[in-house]
Symmetry: C2
Subunit: 971 residues, 2 copies
């Protein structure tokens, strides 16, 4: 340090005027020197509070950039040489009278005032830089140059940097960034941050009975609230106002270190980082620099440690104890604290997840009740009684060609009884309930969002279009380079034409992927048909009797495995396709990516289910003229209870399988496994490693955490689950319950991940959950239609109704089973398709029955579709129309009845506006008086002349001077 200071002093005499050498040069210079200084740091270590502060222990580290360093000595000498060269160059240029105020280049940079715009370096300097450029030509040196330039610009913007190149982690250097108070103020003003003012007002208490009830309720739910102390009493609120330095007196600036909290500070620094561009061949922002490997990582710091008992209490620790912990699973989330620590965007995700989980409670309650209703009424169900009754000795047609024979309907008793669990009138009620539930959920979320917006001072905040992405800028640069010769136009954007190949690839790939899903589903169907046929043909009777079960189980597992694998594949494909598109901003990139991923994953998860619900068993044909695939396999039928039962099985396997495997295996198991591996490995590194870990600075430990990869996977998982909960709820009333159980774990799992395993994300402001809301809305809408179809086509609800009210002789369900079965004359079997063992039941069969509405063999048009079929079809379709429109209307009414903005919030917003206007008006009056009294005391003459002029009633008054004191002063 002493050496360097001397070097500086040697130059000082010439620096009477401002001088401006390009900053990156300076940094190149000190890069070489940094090694000399490392001896000084250890003592300062304790001061700097575990790396949360600069070495001076005063300035907070608001952001960290990391870059790789190589411990090679190659090039050192050259760099030393260039160093000297540049020193000379700088000295010479100083003598030439360059303006530069602060070229005092030290390793630990101290605060510097802002520079005026830098003049371009002179040709003379350029010549001398020739060597420099040459020697630094290598890839690595190019990066050093970039970094130097970038960091110089950051300093120009007023940020303060401190480097740490020689850390305990070999190969990684850190740039710690601190934003001083004035920069924070400036940026807060530019970002239009709303901050609490000194002015508080009392939030009106509820009156009378309502108050008593609410206090009672809050007492009851008291243990459900996390133990996070709130600083201010509940009935007092600070007025908020957009921060502005001219209105500084409004804010409580007594503690400037904590006026902006750590997440705000880091997002301010990030804002500056995004704005700062290196002017290389093309302008490079921080994303480009990260992409090119000039920097390896950029992250803000966590607030402190969580594990150590001795650790200073900090928000992170509090979150860890009161939120990211399975033992508090029954409590509300401390959303305010989450927002304070992670920012609004992540806060909104958890608030949304919390509300969703909360809303699942009534849904799963009703679902369980519906299921229990099914269980309770299974014995009173006439159709299944009729099926099971041995007296109804109905002979059914064989289920497969040749090898199968006739069978008795009463053998299907078990499935018939089981299917009643899911196929009863309560299901209809439940799917209407769930449609309204979804609408309520949407509305509640809108209200919650609005409330949070208000509480988080986001009212009035508008989403800004983001800075362009690095890839986009790179492509634009490429394009403008390639076209430079042809035209003078500076190309500033990509046209549709540029993107056409990408769009085409997108469409083709999306269709291909969807095709793959369909093909796989079809493959599984074929597997099922062919295996079943093969097993039936087997001579082993055990194999034959277990055929159905074997095939179903294996097929379902295959389906699940395929879904899980394709899920990962589709995620990758969607990302690749979106990268191809070269979207301009991060926001549109994210939206496109989400959209594509959503479509692919949705198709993937729901195609097999949709097949079972709406296609399976519909295209079977009839005895005597079955439909064949590949001319030999009959299409599959559903078991006698209807396809609803199979749908339910498939749904539960897929949903539970996905949740168990994706959540528990991938999200819990894999990290545990990693830890285990690390533990085994550390056996070798042993003590050393652990010790090192302990001594690491905050910015170094955070470097070892996973980078934050966005909320998309979390949201996506939830929305697919929302699909399971709403789309086929008519067939699986327990879905909400399973979702609820999953989510209770999911919240804490995600919380743990955010608090302990990820680097702290940069706080992003957001008013809403963006595209996710639209997707949810879309799923909820589709759910209405799908449920309508499930009830009317998959379940037997409509045929039962039609029978009861149109055909039943006594208005009861008796005879329903008989009514749904058509007759088939066994002599009409095609040649070679009749059962090999026609006497399987012990007696010859003349007529067998099959489930369909067709004319009997003795009618004039045998085996034609009967009138009943059309009647039932018409009623089914009518039900779909009525159900869809009624439910949609009811959802709209729910939407309309529940105001989007909670009443109390809108009142408070209004009240705050009035209070603010009052505040300003009073302030103005105060100022006017002050100015007047001042002018009175300062100049007696002025004052008396004023008052006399008042009295002479020629009051052309000087209100301007009074009111504008402030503004004119600031000009």
């Amino acid at each position: 340090m002493a050496e360097e200071a001397e070097g500086r002093v040697g130059l000082s005499p010439t620096s009477g005027s401002d001088q401006q050498a390009p900053h990156f040069l300076q940094d190149v210079i000190f890069h070489g020197k940094s090694k000399l200084l490392k001896a000084l740091t250890p003592q300062e270590n304790t001061q700097s509070q575990q790396g949360l502060y600069f070495l001076d222990g005063q300035r907070r580290v608001d952001y960290v950039l990391t870059y790789p360093v190589k411990k090679s000595t190659v090039g050192r000498s050259c760099r030393q040489a260039t160093h000297l060269l540049t020193e000379n160059a700088v000295a010479r240029s100083l003598r030439r009278g360059y303006q530069s105020r602060d070229q005092h280049i030290r390793h630990h940079q101290v605060p510097r005032a802002q520079n005026p715009s830098s003049p371009p370096s002179s040709p003379g300097t350029d010549v001398e830089l020739g060597c420099l450029a040459e020697t630094l030509y290598g890839q690595e040196d190019h990066k050093i140059l970039r970094r130097a330039e970038f960091e110089g610009k950051l300093r120009d913007m007023g940020l303060e940097l401190e480097k740490d190149e020689d850390t305990k982690i070999s190969g990684v250097a850190f740039v710690k960034i601190h934003a001083p108070w004035n920069i924070l103020c400036r940026e807060a003003e530019l970002m239009k941050l709303k901050m609490p003012t000194k002015k508080v007002y009392e939030v009106k208490q509820l009156s009378g009975v309502v108050e008593k009830i609410s206090s009672l309720v809050s007492k009851v739910v008291e243990p459900l609230h996390p133990q996070v102390e709130e600083h201010q009493p509940k009935n007092v609120k600070h007025l908020s106002h957009t921060f502005s330095r001219e209105k500084q007196h409004l804010f409580d600036l007594s503690d400037k270190d904590y006026f902006f909290d750590s997440k705000t500070r880091s997002s301010i620094v990030f804002e500056i980082l995004k704005r700062t561009k290196c002017k290389a061949k093309y302008s490079m922002g921080i994303t480009t620099l990260l992409g090119n490997g000039v920097y390896t990582a950029a992250y803000p710091l966590h607030d402190g440690d969580i594990n150590e008992e001795s650790a200073v209490p900090n928000d992170r620790k509090l979150l860890y104890e009161e939120w990211a912990n399975y033992s508090v699973f029954y409590k509300y989330q401390p959303i305010g604290l989450v927002r304070k620590y992670f920012g609004e965007k992540i806060g909104l995700y958890f608030a949304w997840l919390g509300l969703y989980t909360q809303m699942l409670i009534p849904a799963s309650l009703v679902g369980v009740i519906v299921f229990l209703y099914g269980c309770a009424t299974v014995d009173d169900n006439i159709p299944s009684m009729e099926i099971c009754h041995p007296r109804n000795n109905i002979t059914m047609c064989p289920l497969c060609d040749r090898v199968c024979s006739y069978w008795k309907l009463s053998t299907a008793c078990a499935t018939a009884r089981a299917s009643h669990l899911f196929d009863n009138p309560a299901t209809v009620f439940f799917s209407i309930f769930m449609a309204l539930w979804a609408a309520m959920f949407m509305e509640h979320w809108k209200r919650r969002q609005m409330r949070l917006n208000y509480e988080w001072d986001l009212t009035g905040f508008e989403d800004e279009e983001d800075h362009p992405r690095a890839e986009y800028e790179f492509r634009v640069m490429q394009k403008s380079l390639s076209k430079d010769q042809k035209s003078q136009h500076k190309i500033e954007k990509l046209t549709c034409q540029d993107r056409l190949p990408a769009y085409m690839t997108n469409i083709v790939m999306m269709l291909l992927m969807i095709g793959v899903t369909f093909a796989i589903v079809f493959g599984v169907i074929l597997y099922r048909i062919s295996t079943k046929a093969a097993l039936y043909m087997s001579s082993n009777p055990v194999t034959r009797s277990n055929a159905q079960l074997t095939v179903k189980t294996t097929a379902a597992i295959i389906n699940l495995v395929v879904i899980l694998i394709l899920d990962e594949v589709y995620g990758a494909v969607a990302r690749w396709l979106t990268v191809l598109e070269v979207r301009k901003t991060d926001k549109s990139f994210e939206e496109r990516l989400i959209f594509k991923t959503f479509i692919l994953k949705f198709v993937n998860a729901f195609t097999p289910i949709i097949y079972i619900a709406f296609f399976r068993g519909r295209l079977v044909g009839r005895p005597g003229s079955y439909l064949y695939v590949f001319e030999s396999y009959r299409m599959e039928e559903c078991a006698h209870g209807g396809c609803l039962m199979e749908l339910c099985i498939q749904l539960s396997i897929t949903m539970l399988g996905k949740q168990l495997i994706q959540n528990n295996l991938f999200e819990i198991g894999v990290p545990k496994l990693k830890k285990l591996i690390r533990y085994i490995r550390s056996k070798q590194g042993a003590f050393q490693e652990e010790e090192r870990q302990k001594k690491l600075q905050r910015y170094q430990t955070d470097h070892f955490l996973e980078p934050f990869a966005g909320l998309t996977p979390e949201y996506m998982e939830m929305i697919i689950q929302f699909g399971f909960v709403t789309l086929f709820v008519a067939s699986f009333p327990l879905a909400p319950l399973f979702a609820l159980l999953n989510n209770i774990i999911e919240i804490r799992l995600d919380a743990k991940k955010f608090v302990t395993e990820l680097r702290r994300p940069v706080a992003a402001r957001a008013k809403d959950i963006g595209i996710w809301y639209n997707l949810l809305r879309g799923v909820a809408n589709v759910a209405v239609i799908i449920n309508a179809f499930v009830i009317s086509f998959t379940s037997d609800f409509i045929p039962r109704m039609v029978y009861q009210y149109m055909y039943s002789p006594d208005g009861s369900m008796h005879g329903f089973v008989n009514n749904t079965l058509s007759y088939f004359n066994v002599s009409h079997f095609q040649q070679g398709k009749e059962p090999m063992d026609p006497l399987y039941l012990g007696h010859p069969v003349e007529m067998c029955r099959y489930k369909d509405y067709r004319e009997p063999p003795w009618s004039t048009t045998p085996y034609e579709i009967s009138k009943e079929f059309w009647a039932v079809l018409a009623v089914r379709l009518a039900f779909v129309i009525v159900f869809q429109n009624v439910v949609m209307l009811m959802s709209d009414i729910v939407d309309w009845l529940i105001p989007d903005i909670p009443k109390d919030i809108s009142l408070q917003i209004h009240k705050e506006k009035i209070l603010l206007v009052d505040l300003f008006l009073k302030e103005e009056q105060g100022k006017t008086r002050n100015v007047e009294s001042r002018s009175c005391t300062e100049g007696k003459k002025n004052c008396s002349s004023r008052s006399s002029s008042n009295n002479n009633s020629s009051t052309v008054a000087h209100p301007h001077s009074g009111l504008h004191t402030n503004s004119t002063n600031s000009l």
Copy 2:
């Protein structure tokens, strides 16, 4: 004046310190005096530019309040006495040392600086005021007191007032209000108005081919643009920024008189008026004062005259020439100017109306083509050919009991041919087209709105909750008065319980009104049935042959008249019901009113049409067992061509009738009639009247105009029309054309009304058209379902398709008519219902035919509904489902494909934000440098110490001082 001045001077020696007598007292005092001053005004008249300025000719009149004056001398003496009393009181209180800076009370108030908050008047003064309160007790005097208080408060707020009590209009006095510059600034800041800054930037020109095309297009449409000069070149735009006095340097304040245009000035004054409250028994805002008759009217002034050739060019005149004029009907509207003159809300209405009209052009084009297609293909239509062909000698069952006889189907040839015009495959296409058209219209409007928001600097503006309405405050006051004894709580709002009776009345009345509509429709049906029966029974053959025509025409006219009358009634009822509700804010009042009016008017307009489309002819029964109303009248059937034809007739009569009568008669005819009456009357008043009119000041002529009553009626008319255009478009493809023709007139009609016949409305800011958009969206959604039903149930489209693809022996339409007719054995007629003249056709009839799908008499289940019926029904329902969902999906896709924010706008918004940030950053740097150089020049020592400290590399720099110069100065 001299007298008064003397009186003042007499007081002046004591007024060295500020003195504050309640303002309203002062005004009471001068109220008595005003008559003395009237002699002075005429000379100043010429200066004041026809009443647009105060008498000094300098200060603009931004707003006018009027109140009634009585020319009575009663009470004058008492007032004189109180005047003296108060003078004494004031003098005494002055001696007591009250602070009051400007109690210089003159009739024509001059600008005054703001007062500090007024101290309460002392007990001593109160005693003396006792007499005053007593003498002013009368109703009229109470109002004077209120006015005085209110105007005093306005002066406190910084407004300047000028009274004109003795105008040429007897009985009306005017208070002219002027907002001085500093008040405008203050309020603009509080209202967060965005104003253009000095900073301009170039909007990027399109490049290459696109540019050429766009310039070509703009040349072609050049004559369509109104000749309104734009001040700035098109490719340059001013950056806008929220106005703030601290940032005054950003704005071009060279011409302070025109920096805020007249509409902004008036809306600023209106804002202050709304905020100012009289503290009587309860707080009274301007609306309450207007409601109580303290003031009679409040309006801003028009910009000038329109008719006089000599008139100074002004915006109003320009609007009159280039917009509110039938001769420019083909031109675009000068929306920018409309907004500049009337404010954003009205600007948005006309922009919306313009876009709607524009969008109607393609719709009506396609509609006409569809209609022409129907005309062209009428001769190739097989069903009507079959009906018309004399060879198909089908005998039909009688149309009424006893008096009617069998008839030949070929006599229905004409109606069958006519109905093909509206019932052909093109209609299906057209209704899909119109559904998409509606979606496109919505999207386009969103985009247009966004563009206007950007151009009008409304981005970032948020709708504020309005001040409470007068009625609401009154009710709250009443409530708190009545409950005062019971509890200490200050009641601040109405609870649900208070509103319960109103809600109940609302629901009951709404249901009642809807019931009335239904009853009337049913009445018309009965009229039709019974009259028809009566006419058929008539012995006169001419009467009988014209029965059908007579009944239809009279019924349609009755329907129309009823609709028109009920429209007015419902408007009144809705208003009454909404007043009952006592909504808190104007906005919620308006929304409720709109909602109720919309429901009632919609039900009123569409119930008869829905009856015809979906119910008529469905509940007829069959020959041998007809359905009877009142046991004697058969329900009406549609003519053989189907009900679509009748639907079309009803639709066109209602739509055209409504438009012709409501628009032309009410909106054009009635004003003309009024003018005529005025003209005839003026024959008596003759010359005098006209002369007087000419000499009137601006604020006086404006007083004679109609007050602005809101945009609700205009929007409502349009939305009902939108209903006609979209709801039943499948049956009436010419609807868009008629709507287009109507709207071309409507735009200019409304424009004329706003420019010439109404007082200038206070400019209201609005980002969107509010609830109307939701209503439009709702209508568009309902339209999809209704069109689906019209196509599948009202038209014969589906039966034709089913026949062609399911039953036709050769796949053609031949035989369709025969297929749709069932057989009836005439021997099965009920006793007394068979025709009296069975040999009417000249031969005995055994079997007659009727239009229905029923089993023939010879089947096992005669006259039962046939299989075909169910099949057709199923297909119809399936079509509804497919149509509804496909069209809704397509609308959603349109919605999704077209971005809500136009690309160029979002780019420009982004660019502007960056430019603003740059601007501020540069400014800061400039300031820092300035401060530094200033400190260098001012104190050499300071400067050198700074630079040396720089050199000593202990740069703890003074960035704070630099960056905070501004803010600290302003503290």
